[in-house]
Amino acid sequence: MLGYGAVLVLVALGGTIAVVFVGLSRYLGPRNANAAKLTTYECGVEPVKTARERFPVRFYLVAMLFIVFDIEAVFLYPWALLFRELGLFGLIEMAVFLMVLVVGLIYAWRKGALEWE
């Protein structure tokens, strides 16, 4: 049972495997690209403009809500770990904290931030 050094070794090993795989296909596969082959696949229709267009703002909203609730989850972990020591005090504290966030969720819900039509 080792510490972070072992994790780093695993990252390096996984990265090496990934790089080798991408490299392998460059050397094993044929390389005869032409202009038609290099166009992006859009079901046979000639691609128009670039794909990096504007996209619905809802995806952005989801990302913002995610940050709020994910940080909430991070705050919950140390609390959950020590919950048996904190007892009733911990329960009430966290109930207040969660209540604030639930109010935020209800607000987002009522404002229609969670609607996907």
């Binding site: 795989f21 991408v22 859009e42 670039t50 794909a51 989850a73």
Partner: protein, 419 residues
């Protein structure tokens, strides 16, 4: 036993390397088997034979598929961001392989006065490590969608980003419930908390958390019914539309590795990990060592049954490949029986019995793991796909409130002393 052999056997590096080998066996080496299994499972459910031509039971088909992928042309579309296009599949694969670092494959065993465990890294915050690392996969998928310069890829990448972050909250909150129950972040201590009666399993301690966790897991691995990011009837192939050759292979393998991690984690969090329920009551003070010969006998029986089935001339032509396969199976069965006999002779040698109990625990974990892997396949070919608005509605309006409710319920139950 000489001094140097003892020091090798008690070294933590030895066991870390073995645990790493174990992880790579279940992922990289396992992938051909999983793809074959997925196709055969699909065929079973759809009442057709599936790949059954090349090799015994069609097993060689998976290797042929891998070779085919490797010798395909690696096309990078014009207008794509070349670096991001190459890095995205690497992120998915590296991240999926790294999560195995903290998985404990067996419990603590005593060897020459030292305690060892089959685990690569014993981090204090094991479960958070897994959540943190596996959530990085969203970068790979989203970058793949963005860098391809294809409108379908872009949509797939956006969908993937939104879907994975939405369900990650539910996943994280469900795990908070389990941390409340076990009072630890270390995976091996979580498994230790499930020792004993069947009702010590996380499944029975927090059934609601299990439900949330399972649904969120399927969404995180982008599997049916949540495979909106690669919904072929809507957006061609989603984020990997413009990927070919082994770059596509990396995404494909990354998905299976991610599934494997999820299945192992499900077993560790909710199904007792490497523990057998009521082990001590049923099998005495050293239950896993006692079970060792039975595990070996079961393995031998399975191998012999498969070997017999493969070499039956009525159903299959007795090809050279089938003969080799049957011979390997018979050899494995022989080895298993030999080990069982050795256990019968040397069960009072402490280190040998300890090693045997470790093997049993790994076998228990792998059997449970295989069931949950099969569940992924089973669900894929049974349940239809969600619509995107339904997916987001489920994630934010059902799963999130349910997960918060689960935390409240679990904490009250813990405080009342019922858990």
């Amino acid at each position: 036993m000489p001094e140097w052999a003892q020091s090798i056997m008690t070294s933590s590096i030895t066991w870390a390397v073995l645990a790493g080998v174990m992880a790579y066996m279940l992922t990289l080496v396992g992938i051909p088997v999983y793809t074959w299994w997925e196709r055969r499972g699909a065929a079973l459910i759809q009442r057709r034979p599936g790949p059954n031509r090349r090799g015994p039971y069609g097993l060689v088909q998976a290797i042929a598929d891998a070779v085919k992928l490797a010798v395909k042309e690696d096309v990078v579309p014009a207008g794509a961001n070349k670096w991001m296009h190459a890095i995205a599949p690497m992120i998915v694969m590296t991240v999926a392989l790294t999560t195995f670092a903290v998985i404990p494959w067996s419990g603590d065993i005593e060897l020459f006065g030292k305690t060892v465990r089959l685990q690569v890294a014993d981090l204090n915050f094991g479960i958070i490590f897994i959540l943190a690392i596996s959530s990085m996969a969203v970068y790979g998928v989203t970058l793949a969608g963005w860098s391809s310069n294809n409108k379908y890829s872009m949509l797939g990448g956006l969908r993937a980003g939104a879907q994975m972050v939405s369900y990650e909250i539910a996943l994280g909150l469900a795990v908070v419930g389990m941390v409340l129950v076990y009072g630890t972040l270390k995976l091996n201590l979580m498994v230790a908390g499930q020792e004993g009666s069947l009702f010590q399993w996380g499944l029975f301690q927090a059934p609601l958390a299990f439900l949330i966790y399972m649904v969120a897991t399927y969404a995180e691995t982008n599997r049916v019914p949540f495979d909106l990011v690669e919904a072929d009837s809507e957006i061609v192939a989603g984020f990997h539309t413009e990927y070919s050759s082994l770059r596509f292979g990396l995404f494909y393998m990354g998905e299976y590795v991610h599934m494997a991690v999820s299945a192992v984690l499900t077993v560790i969090l909710f199904f007792g990990g490497y523990h057998v329920p009521w082990a001590h009551t049923l099998f005495g003070t050293t239950p896993y060592a006692t079970l060792f010969p039975w595990v070996m006998a079961a393995l031998a029986a399975l191998c012999l049954a498969l070997a017999w089935d493969t070499s039956r001339p009525k159903r299959r032509a007795l090809t050279q490949g089938n003969m080799i396969f049957a011979a390997i199976l018979v050899a494995v069965a022989g080895g298993a029986l030999l080990l069982a006999t050795l256990y019968g002779l040397f069960y009072d040698v402490a280190w040998f019995a300890a090693l045997c109990s470790m093997v049993t625990q790994v076998a228990v974990l792998v059997v449970k793991f295989l069931f949950f892997f099969w569940l992924f396949i089973w669900v894929r070919w049974t349940v239809p796909r969600f619509r995107y608005d339904q997916l987001m509605k489920l994630g934010w309006k059902v799963m999130l409130p349910l997960a918060l409710f689960n935390i409240g319920l679990t904490s009250v139950l813990v405080l009342a002393g019922w858990l």
